[in-house]
């Protein structure tokens, strides 16, 4: 099982990704999709990353998930660049024989991705002001649940 990892500015089709996971032979498929929220006066989200490192960081997380749970497929997609409210940012999907494995792997990858993948979000407001999003300590707490 080789994880499918993509870092791209283009949108992706959730349906296409799930179709691939469903055909991998697993009995359970679990996914997480992150969307740019439409609340407040946010006109756009600007997602920066550190290209030299991004793919390696996502690969490390995906391989760790694949070593902890028996997966038949694992997909991680993260977009960068300028995104409008309602657009997809990130997709994590896993397939396994048993639901617990698929759900845990999906949850592990998104929790680690939040704290250990080199992406940064900037919110651009309708009035022209910008704000770099602050990291949340709850994200590190969510990741640290997985320390074994």
């Amino acid at each position: 099982m080789t994880p499918e990892i993509r870092i791209q500015s283009a949108d992706f089709e959730t349906a296409t990704e799930i179709d691939r996971l469903e055909k991998s032979g697993g009995g359970g498929i679990s996914t997480f999709t992150g969307i740019v929220r439409s609340d407040g006066d946010i006109a756009a989200l600007e997602l920066e990353h550190y290209p030299a490192m991004t793919e390696a960081a996502l690969g490390t997380i995906a391989r760790e998930a694949a070593s902890r749970w028996s997966l038949s497929a694992l997909t991680v997609i993260h977009r960068h660049g300028r995104l409008q409210p309602g657009e997809r940012i990130v997709f994590v999907g896993s397939a396994a024989a048993h639901r617990g494995e698929a759900i845990s792997a999906m949850n592990f990858v998104i929790d680690w991705l939040k704290t250990d993948a080199p992406f940064w979000k900037r919110e651009d407001f309708a009035d022209g002001s910008v704000r770099w999003v602050e990291a949340r300590s709850t994200d590190e707490a969510a990741r640290d649940r997985w320390q074994s």
Binding site: G34, L47, H49, Y50, A52, M53, A56, A57, H78, I89, V90, I110, L113, K114, T115, D116, A117, P118, F119, W120, K121, W132, V133, E134, A135
Partner: protein, 75 residues
Amino acid sequence: MREAIGKDGERCDPPDSVTTIADLIDWLAAEGGGYALAFADRDRLRAALDQRFVPFDTQLGGAKELALFPPVTGG
């Protein structure tokens, strides 16, 4: 950070006394200005050496690239 320092990368040649990432941060911050501002709060600083997250007490050794940035906010 990038906005405080005014650039997104540079080559630098620290003295021999700088052996760890923490040493390098101290040495740069001592220059004052943008560096002092950008590195004021170490809790809000993360380091990657040759594209891997590492703690600040890591030896620089023969690494080619050190990246310093705020905690990530992707996903």
